[in-house]
């Protein structure tokens, strides 16, 4: 890694990005901050209420539940998707036409609009017209994602695993391709077992991409909205209502601008905190290299 040249004129190159992201991030965020400290009745009537909404949001049990559900969901899918993704990446062919074909086929779920993902599983899981639902009832499992909270949860998790494991797999696949062939040759000479090859050659080389993978999957699962919204509508009851959906319900559904804004900020801060931890880890790892 060469050292970079110090040059403050580089700011001119960054300026366009700064302007466009400022327009679509800072201005809206300021609006949110503004709302979060006011009680708004209509366009011209509003009162300054200070930290009132924040207090209310922090004590709101619905939001606590949504937050717990959110963490539980993110952890569950990470625990399933990361090992499964590594496994799939290890199985993927490395050379020739079949490698390209596998790449394209594996990537397909990532290219489907999120509401269509919801629709696919909505259909697939139904007992009357869906293969999965019909299969479950054939083997004698009482399965109905629309009325049973556990089934709804399982279906949302299954959908997310189906949808996003390919991302982890592709990440690991590109990480595996970056390992020089000589490493494997050395392992063969040492007659290393398959497990030893994985544990001492492949896994260490995968650390970098796995961190990116965990980061992306954590963040994206933390703001999941469309798929469960289409699949279960957040129900039955509120068993699959995650943070984003709780927020949208409050902001658009009930039009409680103040509390919704305060909620947004708390939500955003949680994400920012986790994001910062990951970012520092990645940057430190690159420095160590």
């Amino acid at each position: 890694m060469q050292t970079k040249v110090e040059n403050n004129k580089a700011w001119f190159l960054v300026l366009p990005v700064f302007i466009i992201v400022a327009f679509s991030a800072i201005i809206p965020l300021m609006t949110v901050v503004n709302y979060s400290v006011q009680d708004i009745f209509d366009q011209n009537t509003s009162y300054f209420v200070g930290a009132e909404w924040f207090k209310q949001v922090m004590l709101d049990s619905r939001l606590h539940d949504a937050l717990i559900r959110q963490f539980l969901f993110s952890l569950t899918i990470l625990l399933i998707e990361i090992p499964l993704g590594i496994g799939v990446a290890l199985m993927m062919p490395t050379k020739g036409k079949s490698a390209s074909l596998c790449l394209i086929l594996v990537a397909i779920p990532l290219l489907i609009p999120w509401n269509v993902v919801g629709t696919i599983w909505q259909i697939f899981g139904r007992e009357d017209i869906g293969l999965f639902g019909a299969f479950m009832s054939t083997i004698g499992v009482d399965y109905n994602y629309a009325s049973d909270p556990f089934d709804a949860w399982a279906t949302v998790v299954l959908m997310d695993v189906w949808h996003w494991t390919p991302l982890v797999a592709l990440l690991c696949y590109s990480g595996l391709r970056a390992i020089p062939e000589v490493y494997y040759q050395a392992a063969r000479i040492d007659q290393a077992s398959r497990w030893a090859v994985f544990r001492y050659i492949q896994l260490p080389k995968l650390t970098n991409v796995l961190i990116i993978g965990v980061l992306l999957r954590f963040m994206d699962s933390f703001m999941i909205y469309t798929e469960p919204f289409v699949l279960t509508g957040g129900g039955p009851g509120s068993s699959t209502t995650f943070l984003s959906q709780a927020l949208v319900q409050q902001a658009i559904g009930q039009f409680d601008l103040g509390p919704a804004a305060a909620f947004s900020l708390v939500y955003f801060l949680i994400i920012l905190l986790v994001c910062w931890v990951f970012y520092t880890t990645i940057m430190n790892m690159q420095k160590d290299k």
Partner: protein
């Protein structure tokens, strides 16, 4: 057969490396056989995974060729009365097919804007140190991580107040929120892979910065640009929440039309499936062009 091939394999190695190798030869072929078994097993596993992966999509495709009565009358792996009626309905109705045109328009706009602003910025991040560069980079990244739901209402009001509500450019700009940071990140990864000596040599040869950038640098990272364009396309294409909120009639994306029409006509499953299948096709077309680089792109150019 196996016997003869192993002796055939061990002979040249014995000739080359002397007698010590001949003792190891059977062990080696045993390991080889194990490796071959492992390949076979992993190929089997891969096929199984792909089948499970594609089954739900196949089910959608299968359904899109059936009539509603057939769908509701029972399960079958192939449509009995194969029909294109569902697709005909979509291509014959402007309120349906305009959705695809709208989506494509704002996705392309977003792709162009994101690439244009991200290219110089990514170059700056990969080549120079400047005041606040690390903070800027993190700030950009944090926008990629911002939940769209947080920005829903302010976006709506912002774009309404500047008269951009229900235009393609509004959605394209809104999607810049997560696509520009992503583009900068991926491009920076690819650009850092290009040795700095190339820049320096070009400057010594008398190239000005813009000339160098367009003539030399951009051709060097074209696979990176292709992958970035693909990712911008992908994330803008799959997003629904912002696109739906910022449009009402003129720029309504296909994804939003799907949700509305379906609930109004009392679940037209066949039509829903056909519309869903049509949303998958553009993604499959574009991924074909970047298939060899896409894995590196998913690692954000950092492998």
């Amino acid at each position: 057969m196996t016997q003869s091939s192993t002796t055939h394999d061990s002979k040249p190695s014995a000739a080359k490396y002397g007698t010590a190798e001949t003792i190891q030869a059977p062990v080696y072929s045993h390991a080889e056989r194990k490796a071959r078994n492992a390949t076979r097993r992993s190929r089997l596993g891969m096929v199984l995974y792909l089948v499970l992966l594609l089954l739900p999509i196949y089910w959608l495709l299968n359904m899109s060729f059936k009539t509603n009565t057939e769908i509701l009358s029972g399960l079958s792996f192939f449509p009995e009365n194969f029909t294109l009626e569902n697709y005909a309905k979509i291509f014959g109705d402007p309120t349906w097919y305009m959705g695809y045109i709208n989506s494509t328009l704002y996705v392309v706009m977003n792709m162009v804007i994101s690439l244009l602003v991200a290219l110089p910025a990514a170059y700056a991040f990969s080549r120079y140190r400047f005041v606040g560069d690390k903070h800027m980079f993190f700030w950009l990244l944090s926008n990629r991580m911002a939940p769209p739901a947080v920005f829903l209402l302010p976006f709506f009001q912002l774009y309404s107040s500047v008269g951009l509500f229900d235009t393609h450019i509004a959605v394209a700009l809104a999607h810049c929120l997560f696509n520009v940071p992503l583009a900068v990140w991926i491009l920076e990864g690819f650009m850092s892979g290009v040795p700095r000596e190339i820049d320096e040599t070009a400057y010594i040869d008398g190239y000005s910065f813009p000339k160098f950038f367009v003539r030399i640098f951009i051709p060097l990272i074209r696979s990176g640009i292709g992958v970035t364009a693909f990712f911008c396309f992908m994330f803008s294409w799959v997003e629904l929440l912002l696109a739906r909120t910022l449009t009402s009639v003129e720029a309504k994306p296909i994804a939003a039309i799907m949700t509305r029409t379906v609930s109004a006509s009392g679940m037209d499953w066949g039509l829903l499936a056909a519309a869903g299948v049509l949303t998958i096709i553009p993604g499959m077309l574009v991924i074909y062009f970047v298939r060899n680089h896409v894995a590196k792109g998913f690692a954000l150019g950092r492998v």
